[in-house]
Symmetry: D2
Subunit: 511 residues, 4 copies
């Protein structure tokens, strides 16, 4: 069934908000039934590779979790072997409509949620505003997203606004069991645990949709699996929906395809391309996560290091600005003339990779292209050069070319490999060429909160739209909704500027 | 005829490339008889002076010229009273088809052009590339732009590419007589001088169009006056045109109106909204000109000063970044949530003007709105506060409210007024609230060169388009022209990065 | 004997290079009124734990290790209970003159050393230069420093230059057992393991000094314990020394006291106050470690956060610059007028803590004073405010005032406490007010390498000084050693700028 | 008499506060026809030169004035030919004890002084504080400094504090006649005008010292001419002095020589090396003036330009930081390892001039050395390269090597020369290699105010010192004067931070 491989095509590079551990499914190529993984356009014989490296990469993704999401994972020590599906659990209030790892972790999860709430002020502000109002009363939401403390804040906000929720995980590894437990304890029907099998995955989704006396009318999806399932299995339910809110690149892509094919029978909202998501997930987030990721993995000092950043889009702009500020000497490669000119105007030296490859201490890819750093470049790097990827999936660095007999790989830390040439030269490869910021740093909660707020904003607009306002199409909301105050984005600002209000009637700064 | 006053309404705020002296026409409403210049402390009657505002501000623009475009104006001392229309002049080669101030200034003008060429590498590179090719052979261009050394480089480039040119000025004051002389000496039919009357203005334009045995087929316009003239007077010529290239906001606006009315009978190119023009005229240019303008007028030290920048669009972004870099403590006011959030992420403190107005040393407006700084704010500024405008026209600061009997105006330098409150408090008003960067600093030639290059690029594409490619509409060229190398923008980069070439086949950096 | 508690008074604040785990001895061994500390959800019997303070801080430092020095500590799982003093071990070559935890960790340690060598290019360059030369031939060094991979590079460099070494640890917790094993395997007489008792500590030092047929002639000390021991126990050996090289504030302070008292009988070199150490340990290092420490502990997003940095000395300058670059809005408090003026000129807003304490998201202390952030300020911070210390020891934040019955402490991660007010407000206290960068981030190897290089530089100058050049005094070498090329600092630059050479004969840039 | 040529050797490079027009004496007294150019140390006859070129260089300095100090000079049009020494003038109150150009310019001068007062808040604050106190009562000061509006603020402050003043100019060209007139009108005995002859110069100084019933007891000198004169001519007066306050490098150097020779018979204060002067005159001032000077002379766009800054001392740090912020790509050359390492840590690429000379758009020298940019480099610069000096005097660029027959000089603007190679290549030389910031930009009043405040501070401390506190030596006051509040520096901050007060009792930030 092709759908089971959907995640193979999804594009996490531009979808940072798909939580960090998206990594485990989409990226780190680990999974449990490895024979199913195939990278679309590469046609490689994956099984063969896996027979060699599968074991290893599996252990990596786990250790990745252990190191970088400390709060999440220390609870997993207590994991026992029984499948959650085989155990009947019960919340302290007797509630049983959920399926999670261990309800006893609820206290821990609640604490994590409390921490997350601190950095998600817009959602908290919304709850306050909507007190008594219940603008989402009547909404029956099925959701399929990463189940984390951040999602919990989102769900509890929807609930505070009046919606009813049932939720499954959009990824078999990313669930924070403690957060799930806290939600279940609070009475939310949650069906998710860390380490689901594929069968579990669809079983959980199905349990969110099919329930007697439960006619969901809204979908909140991240990746499109839920939408697909309902479309296929419950076409009647699908037709009765008021709409879909979809966050990921992949899911949005799929929606446009459905729409083109004339098979989209409800309106859908495209969160992925909203300004708030684009700017923050790329420019502002990468500016911080490039430093964070490099430091955690290598403890390298940035000051005085020569760095080449390949690509000067939003991601490249963020990385370059951060490294410059820390004292690195930054070079840029760029093929687009406009971006190249911007790099020049921002004080960076434009180079061809070829011209600096022998002298740089770090190479960072953010182009969105394939094989930007090929074996020929890798061969010429100097001893100790750090190579990592902030761009698209794991295709920018030609890692495959390094898996050849004359080179020795040495794992020095989790996510850090020394690749050693016959003459003793080592390069330091991070995250095996996968996205550094997804693999090795955390996404700031504040960033996640911006997307979550946007989701609620779109959700609210879609759910409350007058009859006929939206057709069976995919929508991107305009930056400005008429002259009315911006309900959500304004709320978003509350954390930053508590008394933000419109200063003058006529808005819009120049350009 | 309303057209004669068109320039009153035109919008130079977003059109920096309309050369600095556009100022004289659009803004400073100008000039000449020096005996009327009297400085504040010479006991002049301010009210009386005001009643002749026009007179008064006229004298300013001259001094503006003297101070800020030194190279241009010292040639004007030799101005004599005879109108150029009444004198027959002759180039050293006997050429007579031109009407300018003084052909003897040709040497001086040539030197200014030589200086300009240094900073316009893309055009110079184009000339080299097109050597022998003459891609514009057959083009008969009538142009109507500011006549400056920069324009001369543009015209001589068109000519080098094979075009024939006839040119008039788009502004009665902005002509650099020496540059015009150099062009005439080189054989270009130029009809322009500094200080034309309105009658002169149209006479010059007419002389560019109507000439026996001259059937122009292309228009290069800045402001739309030429287009309008041909449309009205020579409809038959108009219909035979291959197209129009229009640079200014005003002209583009007019073209869209014609198009809407179904009266645009040839394709037209919109330069104003091209990316190269927008980014450079605003962000990058203002980043430099805010410092330049403030220093030249006030010699103020930026370090440690508290500054409020109103508006965080491209202009505001440029101003804030520059002042921060010089050590100023910068506050931002902004009503658009996205821009406000960007200001926060860029380390600026969002404030309401009201909260900081008593403490700041400078107030800079870049909102595009009216009366952002009203009398109430002006009343509360501290002694010595500098107030200036980088935004839209002269509407952002409510200067009119300062022309009231209880306040004393004292002109301390050209473009610098002290407005004095009864208690002795002074605020320092720059350029009477007009655009600081247009009035009081120069636009870097490099910026002008980017727009000029874009003009040639569009011109080339329009002139060489296959039959039927463009309809009778207004066009904005896509950022990327298919997969072909970017002819012009690439050339543009030559100055910055001599060996810029496509590094890899598949381009596009992420986002 | 008061000396045994020396480390209680030592001042790690300005002594970053004392390795991260110095922490365990100097800092974490502390809590002042321990009976009040109770960690919320762990319900452990704290008093009991305290009765074995050693144990506790040991485990503390371990968890610190686990998180922040991953590579180092995972080897310690194999720790067994036998004291190293009770076991006889033997290197693969039969060498036995050492006492360490476990010689079998040598391979792992060697790898760590290899990684460290990458970032210590100056020392590696020195080895190359000195090849065949052996400028330290005849030097018999006893050393007492942290035993880490970095120290190993230092020791092996001294050895490569011709010196003989015997080494002990200057801290009972900071030893990296694997690095010690690698040194022992290489034949170095090393006496150190992680978790020594105080008796072990002095036993190890004594074993470095007293050995038949071993007459040491140089001391390389960090903290002064070794110097003290030799002075007291082996006065005859002390008198025969050629000199002492001392790195720490504490040790240098002690040397000046000895000198004043007329009891310093050999020349001593003051590394602590050398320019290379001061600038790098403070300004450049803190610029990176403030971000690193905050991210690892809190995952906070910096962009848009309001931060007050108390103190604008070198540390404050580094912290402020870094946070500004990440988009934080930074306020400075400062009492010294010169520093305050610098803050102004660097675009920061000077405030009184009182004026911003209610609005900031983070408070960072770097003043060197006591109780800069007292309970009155803590009471007024907003919910979620992060409080941490980058300045002097653990005195800047009045943590003691928070250990009062009405406040609840909740440990949410290692080094992260939520302190909760009766009304539910939480502040987030990092590292219990201890130095954030020592406790919670790593010191870049490059920084350590600069100090290590300086040590060798001073060592070389002292050891090779002509008779009578240095008296029985404490010396600080001049920034420039005459006209001769700077042997070491130049080497230092090799990593950054491979072909750094004197460009012109007459040096010195202005000021 | 060698003293008459003192100013030939004086070192304005590090003495920015010697006002901008110092230029006229030290610098602009030069050239056009190159055969007449002879530099000080080439043993030229100054008197003879003056008789030939004085006129001309005067007009030079005027044009400089016109462009760059507009406010100052437009009053000079009224210059008539009579020497002030030959005319008897009288203030409106009948005062006659002065000798200046034209008392009628007093109104204009008063206005300039009022403007200057705005930016000299510390002095104004001092006046307020000292109201009624008169801490300088009894001081009889002879001063010899540039006579400008800024000096007027200083003099009127001394007077407000109780001192009596007589003043002469320290430079024959720098006097602002209007400011002198305003002072005279106020009753100050001022002896100075723009364009004094050398004889006038000493005549004026003498008139300040020798007056019956006037026994001066304090000297405030800038350059040492006054001190020298008193020492030589009035040794008895000299011995009775309480002390000297000297600002310039040259004067301070001379004082140390006197002291060494045992001929200094009163205490002297060294202002030049005070922290407030060094940091501000170099780092902060140059950060702004490099941009200002380049813009005013060349209108160059900084964004994207490649610039090499030679030397990374305080001046180089300021220049590099400013250009980087404007988007230039900056390279650094440096021979001092510490400064070089700082450049690396600040994100600049260290290069050898040789490696980048062919590619850069600008070369800026700030090394303090001679011939940093020699003919060999000038030969290899690319067409259009801008060359200027921010460092030491006019020695850093080997301008002499450009005055050779095969090269053509073309003056395109005041202070801007094109030097043209036989193949047509032009380089753009600014200010003929003299200090760009002195010649072509203004020194911010705020900077001047900091030095002036320091002068008063030292003056106050010297004048009020208890008997015996200062010996016959040269003194530099400590940064911190005990625990007492910093009288002056604190006042200095008033402008920046109105309510600056000591926040805590125990001061000092770390390092």
């Amino acid at each position: 069934m092709p759908w089971t491989k959907w995640w193979m095509y999804c594009n996490p590079g531009v979808c940072l908000t798909r939580f960090v551990l998206l990594v485990s499914k989409v990226i780190l190529s680990l999974p449990l039934s490895p024979q199913q993984i195939q990278f679309a356009d590469q046609q490689q014989d994956f099984n063969k590779r896996l027979s060699k490296t599968g074991r290893r990469s599996r252990s990596f993704s786990q250790s990745s979790t252990v190191n970088y999401n400390s709060a999440v994972s220390y609870t997993d020590c207590s994991e026992d072997a029984t499948s959650p599906r085989d155990r009947q659990q019960r919340s302290s209030k007797g509630h049983q409509d959920f399926c999670i790892k261990n309800i006893r972790q609820a206290g821990l999860g609640r604490r994590e949620i409390a921490i997350a709430e601190q950095e998600m002020p817009a959602l908290m502000a919304l709850r306050k505003r909507a007190e008594g109002e219940k603008p989402l009363a009547g909404a029956k939401v099925v959701g399929c997203t990463h189940i984390t403390a951040h999602t919990a804040v989102l769900m509890e906000t929807l609930s505070a606004l009046g919606a009813q929720c049932r939720w499954a995980a959009c990824n078999i590894y990313s669930t924070q069991n403690a957060a799930a437990a806290a939600l279940a304890e609070e009475g939310f029907p949650v069906f998710a645990w860390k380490g689901e099998s594929e069968d579990d995955f669809w079983w959980c989704i199905d349990h969110c949709v099919s329930l007697e006396a439960w006619q969901p009318n809204m979908i909140l999806d991240d990746g499109g699996d839920l939408t697909h399932w309902i479309d296929k299995k419950y076409p009647n339910i699908f037709k009765m929906m008021k709409g879909i809110v979809e966050e990921s690149v992949t899911g949005v892509h799929r929606l446009y395809q459905l729409s083109k094919a004339g098979r989209l029978c409800v309106p859908a909202m495209n969160i992925n391309d909203s300004v708030t998501k684009q700017k923050f997930d790329n420019l502002y987030c990468c500016r911080e996560s490039i430093l964070d990721g490099l430091k955690r993995l290598t403890d390298v000092m940035f000051g005085g290091k020569q760095v080449v950043v390949c690509g000067y889009g939003e991601v490249g702009k963020g990385c370059s600005a951060a490294l410059k500020a820390m004292g690195s000497i930054v070079y840029i490669t760029e093929v687009d003339p406009i971006c190249a000119l911007q790099a020049c105007m921002d004080c960076f030296r434009l180079v061809k990779l070829n011209d600096v490859i022998r002298q740089v201490d770090m190479v960072i890819t953010c182009t969105g292209n394939k094989n930007v750093v090929g074996r020929d470049y890798l061969d010429r790097m100097k001893n100790g050069c750090i190579v990592c990827n902030m761009g698209h999936s794991n295709t920018e660095i030609d890692v495959a070319s390094l898996r050849s007999p004359e080179l020795t790989w040495e794992r020095v830390r989790s996510q850090v490999d020394h690749v050693i040439w016959p003459d003793g030269k080592r390069i330091i490869l991070l995250a095996e060429g996968h996205l550094l910021n997804l693999s090795c740093s955390t996404v700031p909660t504040f960033i996640l909160s911006i997307t979550a707020t946007t989701q609620v904003y779109y959700f609210y607009n879609l759910y409350n739209a007058p009859e006929g306002r939206y057709n069976k199409d995919v929508y991107l909301l305009p930056k400005k909704m008429g002259k009315t105050p911006h309900y959500l984005p304004t709320a978003l600002l509350l954390r930053l500027w508590p008394d933000f209000t419109c200063q003058r009637l006529t808005p819009t700064s120049q350009s």
